[in-house]
């Protein structure tokens, strides 16, 4: 009889042990400052957002936009991927003088025509509409980025770069996994950007001869609009798809400051669903 009672009590204690610890007490501070964006836990993915800053070396208002992009980069860190695209009248180099550097690219020119920017600087945040417009003044970037970075990650992109310093040949392997089924077809664009380029820039205060140009679009490994993800661009949950490219880094580019920027977008809406960046030389 006694044994039976003891057995019952033990069973109850074991049962309650399953339930009692089920409470998480959060201590102040309840809000943690996020520097460098949200860092994904093991096996987790976060939404990484592409911010395109359309600019020109002869555009006096453009450095303020670059500053805004830099500020957002300090807030979001790896969660924000920057692309500085020199396009339009302000980017045309002069035959002589301060502005002889050529930062224009065929891809930048195509995008400039496609999105039809009314002026510079202008930006795109994930090529998605914010408050009724896809083309955004720099003052809207922060709010648009806040929305986009809070979205659930739908795609994971893993970039693996193999760079041969002797031949300057870059082999890039892209593994893309859709985390859920999605309508439409998807392309992946693989661009090369370079940072730390010192050359003149027009500013509101006059020409800055030692201006540092960062995240400058230098070229593409698969054209302006990229290639379909995998073989057909279908977004089927769990499917791991690969794309691979080779590219020779031209003389004059500093490979140590170059990185590969890849992003996946919906070919109907043009909206970017995931972006990723990886240095060429680790």
């Amino acid at each position: 009889m006694m044994m039976k009672k003891i057995a019952r009590i033990i069973i109850l204690i074991i049962l309650s042990a399953f339930i009692i610890p089920a409470c998480d007490i959060v201590e102040d501070p309840y809000l943690m400052r996020v520097t460098g964006g949200v860092v994904p836990g093991p096996g987790e993915n976060v939404r990484k957002v592409l911010l395109e800053d359309y600019t020109g070396q002869k555009c006096p208002n453009c450095p303020a936009a670059a500053e805004e992009a830099h500020k957002l980069k300090t807030i979001y860190g790896e969660q924000l991927v920057l692309l500085t695209i020199h396009a339009g009248n302000y980017s045309v180099p002069d035959p002589s003088g301060d502005f002889t550097a050529e930062y224009r690219t065929q891809e930048g020119a195509d995008l400039n025509v496609f999105f039809a920017f009314p002026g510079y600087p202008m930006g795109l945040v994930n090529r998605t509409e914010f408050s009724g417009s896809r083309i955004l003044l720099k003052d809207s970037w922060e709010a648009a980025a806040a929305i986009q970075t809070d979205l659930e990650a739908q795609v994971e992109i893993i970039i693996t770069n193999t760079y041969n310093t002797g031949t300057s040949k870059l082999d890039c392997l892209l593994e893309t996994e859709f985390l859920k089924d999605m309508d439409g077809t998807y392309n992946i664009c693989v661009f090369i950007v370079e940072s730390g380029i010192i050359s003149p820039q027009e500013t509101e205060q006059g020409v800055n001869l030692t201006y540092e140009h960062n995240h400058v679009l230098r070229g593409s490994m698969n054209g302006t609009w990229g290639d379909v993800v995998g073989t057909d661009g279908q977004a089927i949950s769990g499917s791991a798809l690969t794309n691979s490219y080779s590219y020779t880094i031209p003389d004059g580019w500093n490979a140590d400051n170059c990185s590969v920027v890849a992003f996946v977008y919906n070919t109907t809406t043009n909206e970017v669903v995931q972006a990723e960046e990886k240095n060429i030389v680790e």
């Binding site: 109850l12 049962l15 998480d24 007490i25 959060v26 809000l31 964006g37 500020k71 970075t149 809070d150």
Partner: protein, 566 residues
């Protein structure tokens, strides 16, 4: 897939009784069920603002269900089919669809009972956990999981459950809502201890623990160009205790629930703990009943999905301390429980003046008085620089014995008397103060002060035929102004019923809204079967049951209700 398998099992179980009966196998197999179909047509009505574009072609809507229970020996099973094609106006449109949202199998004896599938459960008064279904509200927060009830010795009962709650028709997948775990113990002292068996004072003690696990998604806040991430608890728990003491006609009950940090969309993501205390004392004996109760709740919305704001996925239920009125115009201003904080008291006396006395007359006279008052909490800032209810903070301080704005007050008195063999009279007066700004969420709206008078007169024409006349008047200078209602009802017991009714908003400050809401209705009853038909206008307003409300839009059309049970 699993649902399909269980449905087949249950259908098999339902066809078994005939076979079993034929074989005369003991076990007393029984099948019960009930069905209900509520359908309505919707017609454009310019005066009510209902146009073809409002109706969007949905001119006929239907809610219906069939509920079947089977029991044999120590085994129970059941299922409920539901259809909302599309849901009647005023019901959550997310319910559109049809299927079997509820099925269960259950086995047990006096000691142990196990339920698999869907079930409803309540711990104490429900302030920590209650799942229930209310057809009129379109409310269903049933659990789908496992439940064990265990009674090791006489007077001691335990319940443990785990499950996910109904979320319209959405199956549980991809962590789209939380998992609820609960444990409850109840000790009936007089049954558990022999020495107390004969004691007149009966004492019941109870305690519960409930926890919700939900996969937390990243939630961020941008403030002054700085990005913050909320530290969200994946496991949110609450614990509670209760005592019931009764002696003769007296009954005292008190229950306290403490909920730990539960930032959610409902409370603007504040981290304050929630608290709820409800106490009541009642006395009743032949001819008299007295009830007083007090309640204080603070930050007590507890849902199994952090981001949910609709009337779904509630883990708990806060009982109202306001009277549920019966007459139409009394319910123009019903009270909806304010889960983010309220303090309430209620007092009620029901007295029957005995038969044969001067005031009681030949049949006795029933008098009822009720008083309810609800205030908000006195919410104070936790620091000078942090406004009340600021997200990502403790939200506010609320001293226990300080109260905020008046939310609701009602005083009602009713008099019910049978005069001779043929006449029955019920007269009722209600005064309501209603904070429409808070209860219905109309910013800046003035507090409504309303007087409501009812006369309900029944005249028996013969042993089966009766005529009932109901006159109601609501007087107020606020909101939609004065109303009057007249209803005439003719009953031919037990089969037929006819009525005509008009509610007239003659005092509406907007002349074009001084409308008549007329309804003609009839019903036919035969045993358990009931068919009723009605045509007319329905006024817009809140429909509340137990302080849980839904908004009913104005409509114009035919209604048919069919119900039966076996």
């Amino acid at each position: 897939m699993i649902l399909k398998k269980f449905s087949i099992l249950i259908l098999l179980a339902l066809t078994l009784p005939a076979y079993i009966l034929a074989q005369e196998i003991p076990g007393n197999p029984t099948v019960h069920g009930n069905f209900q179909i509520d359908a309505q047509t919707y017609h454009p009505d310019e005066a009510l603002g209902i146009t073809d574009s409002v109706l969007q072609g949905k001119t006929m809507r239907l809610n219906g269900y069939g509920d079947i229970r089977f029991s044999m020996w120590r085994f129970n099973a059941g299922l409920r089919y539901e259809a909302y094609l599309p849901p009647l106006a005023g019901y959550d449109p997310n319910y559109q669809g049809q299927g079997i949202p509820y099925w269960f199998v259950e086995y047990g004896d006096e000691k142990l009972q196990v339920t698999a599938g869907h079930f409803y459960e309540q711990f104490g008064m429900g302030m920590i956990l209650r799942s229930y279904e209310q057809w009129d509200l379109g409310y269903d927060n049933s659990f789908n999981g496992l439940r064990v009830k265990y009674s090791p010795v006489s007077g001691l009962n335990f319940k443990a459950l785990i499950g996910v709650q109904r979320y319209y028709w959405e199956p549980f997948a991809d962590d789209n809502r939380g998992i609820v775990r609960g444990f409850d113990g109840e000790l009936m002292l007089n049954d558990a201890f022999n020495a107390l068996k004969e004691t007149k004072t009966r004492v019941i003690l109870g305690g519960s623990f409930v926890s919700k696990y939900e996969k937390m998604r990243t939630k961020t806040l941008i403030s002054d160009t700085v990005k913050y991430e909320y530290q969200l608890p994946a496991n949110v728990a609450s614990a509670g205790g209760r005592v019931s003491i009764s002696n003769g006609g007296f009954n005292f009950y008190t229950e306290y629930t403490h909920k730990f940090n539960n930032p959610s969309a409902f409370n603007n993501y504040i981290y304050k703990d929630g608290q709820a205390l409800l106490s009541s004392l009642s006395y009743s004996q032949k001819g008299i009943g007295v009830y007083i109760a007090a309640k204080r709740i603070d930050n007590m919305s507890y849902k199994s999905k952090m981001t949910e704001l609709n009337n779904v996925l509630d883990i708990n239920f806060i009982p109202p301390l306001t009277k549920q009125f019966v007459y139409s115009l009394e319910n123009v201003y019903p009270y909806a429980t304010q889960l983010n904080g309220e303090a309430a008291i209620q007092g009620q006396i029901i007295y029957t003046i005995p038969k044969g006395t001067k005031l009681g007359g030949k049949y006795g006279t029933k008098l009822e008085l009720n008083y309810s008052r609800v205030h908000g909490l006195d919410k104070q800032a936790i620091a000078d620089s942090i406004p009340v209810d600021s997200t990502g903070t403790l939200g506010y301080k609320a001293p226990w014995f300080k109260f905020g704005d008046l939310y609701y007050q009602s005083i009602s008195a009713s008099f019910e008397k049978k005069i001779g063999k043929k006449v029955k009279l019920n007269i009722e007066y209600v005064h309501i103060d209603y904070n429409i700004e808070v209860v219905e969420g109309h910013p800046g709206a003035e507090m409504v002060h309303a007087h409501e008078y009812n006369i309900d007169f029944t005249y028996k024409l013969s042993s089966t035929k009766s005529l009932r006349l109901e006159y109601e008047q609501l007087l107020t200078k606020q909101d939609k102004g004065d109303w009057a209602m007249l209803m005439l009802e003719y009953n031919i017991a037990p089969k037929w019923f006819f009525s005509i009714m008009d509610q007239y908003n003659y005092g509406n400050p907007e002349k074009n809204k001084q409308l008549h809401y007329y309804i003609a209705a009839m019903a036919f009853v035969q045993g358990p079967h009931r068919i009723s038909l009605a045509y007319g206008r329905q006024r817009e307003g809140l429909l509340c049951v137990g302080g849980v409300c839904r908004q009913v839009p104005a409509s114009n059309g035919f209604t048919i209700n069919i119900s039966t049970s076996f």
